[in-house]
Each structure stands twice: as structure tokens, then as C-alpha cells.
């Protein structure tokens, strides 16, 4: 499975979100999930299984990928962990430390 984060520039907010998703994956004991960050303009349905964006880019991200997840905060680990867990389960990835 691949999780992508996207923001307008593809190097600030999205990078921060990717690092926080990596942290969540580690805490959840999930291995083998690929993560990356990019600018929203380059997102395609084939880019990743799930794309995480901040609430301000929810509209811009609609339709770019079949599975778009919107975060209210990019630094709230509770929200990120919850939404990452849901995404993993949607894509049939087992979550050991739920």
C-alpha cells in the first residue's frame, strides 16, 4: 500500500504530514507501507492508494484520487493515527497496535 500526502508546494505541509503519518505507522506497528509527499497538481489516481490533504485543499483534491482523506490538523497525532488506521483497514492492511 502507498500513502501520499499533498499540499500546494509539495514540500512544507505535505512533508510534515508525511513524517507524522510515518510516526503513526510506527506506533501502530505497521510495516511495508510506502509514504511520500508531493504537490497537489501532480496527484493522479495511480499516484497512491490513499492521499492525505489538509482541510483547505479538500476541494482541490476531490476527484484526483479515489481515496482522499482530509485532515483538520496536520500535527494532531490523535486525528492522524485514527484516520491512518481507517485508511489501512479500508485497504486491507492489518493494524497490530490498534
Amino acid at each position: 500500500m502507498k500513502i501520499l500526502t499533498a499540499c500546494s508546494t509539495g514540500l512544507g505541509s505535505s512533508f510534515m504530514t508525511q513524517l507524522n503519518i510515518d510516526k503513526a505507522l510506527k506506533q501502530l506497528g505497521v510495516e511495508g507501507v510506502e509514504t511520500d509527499h508531493t504537490d497537489i497538481a501532480s496527484v493522479t489516481p495511480a499516484s497512491a492508494d490513499t492521499v492525505f490533504v489538509g482541510r483547505d485543499l479538500a476541494e482541490a483534491a476531490q476527484g484526483k484520487n479515489p481515496d482522499v482523506v482530509v485532515l483538520d490538523s496536520l500535527i494532531d497525532m490523535n486525528e492522524i493515527t485514527k484516520k491512518v488506521t481507517a485508511a489501512l483497514e479500508r485497504h486491507g492492511v492489518e493494524v497490530p497496535n490498534k
Binding site: 499540499c7 514540500l11 512544507g12 483547505d56 483538520d72 496536520l74 500535527i75 494532531d76 497525532m77
Partner: protein, 146 residues
């Protein structure tokens, strides 16, 4: 960890600012002075914030990370921060009150991983985030950030 990226005088405190544009001017000033960024970078940040969806630099917890594309004027990867006691509205949007604005200057999309990792570790620490929100001067900020 973050220490090496903060330029001299790059940790700023102000009781309040007139608005988000002034906040950008203040937070970018130390990086301009150090030659880490150009005027073009400051303009690119302002243009980005004013654009539709430009409030995406609001990370949550009243913290924003002002930045733009490296090619708009970054000479050296560096960081600065402004904390204001009274929140200002990012892009004049009531949904985006901000008290802490970082300015991230990154040379390219990937080499600033150490800086981002350190910043992510800091901002996902609820205790540190709370302390940041309650800071009453630059000395408080230095204690939390360095």
C-alpha cells in the same frame, strides 16, 4: 536539532501584529537580513497565502508554516519563527487564527528532511505545543525551541 537552522535573531516575539501580511514581513526579516532568502521569496509567500486554499499552511493548533517554492528565492535552508500574544487571521480568514508563524526556507523538496523531522517532533508534542501557545517572550520561545 532545530538550533542549527535558526539564524541569529530568528526567534521573535510580538504582543500583536496588524495582520497576516505584517506577520510575514516580521518573520521573514531575519532570513532576509542573513541573505538566506530574497525579497522574491517573501512576495511568493504572500501571494500563496492570498490565493484560494492558501491557508493550507495552517498546521493546526494556531501554528502556521509560511513557505513557498525554493526557486522563488531561497539561498540557504533555514528557519525563523514569530509568536504573537494576540492571534491574527491567516488570509483574513476567521477559520484560521494563528499565534505562531514559522518561516521555512528550503533549498529543495528533500534535503530539509532533518529540519522537518525536528519540527514535526516538536509540533506533535502536545506539551511543547501548549508551552509555545503560552509563551510571553522570546526567551520562553528559545527555551521551547532550542
Amino acid at each position: 536539532m532545530l538550533k542549527e537552522y535558526f539564524k541569529d535573531g530568528a526567534i521573535l516575539f510580538a504582543p500583536e501584529v496588524a495582520g497576516w501580511s505584517e506577520a510575514v514581513d516580521e518573520v521573514t526579516a531575519p532570513l532576509l537580513k542573513a541573505g538566506s532568502i530574497t525579497e522574491g521569496y517573501v512576495e511568493a509567500i504572500k501571494k500563496s497565502i492570498a490565493s484560494p486554499g492558501g491557508t493550507y499552511i495552517d498546521l493546526g493548533g494556531q501554528v502556521a508554516m509560511a513557505h513557498a517554492r525554493p526557486e522563488t528565492g531561497v539561498n540557504a535552508t533555514s528557519l525563523s519563527v514569530l509568536h504573537v500574544a494576540k492571534p491574527f487571521l491567516l488570509a483574513d480568514d476567521e477559520n484560521h487564527p494563528i499565534t505562531t508563524m514559522f518561516c521555512l526556507a528550503a533549498k529543495d523538496a528533500n534535503t530539509h528532511i532533518e529540519l522537518m523531522q525536528a519540527l514535526a517532533t516538536l509540533l506533535t508534542d502536545a506539551d511543547k505545543l501548549k508551552a509555545l501557545g503560552e509563551a510571553t517572550g522570546a526567551e520562553d520561545l528559545r527555551k521551547i525551541l532550542l
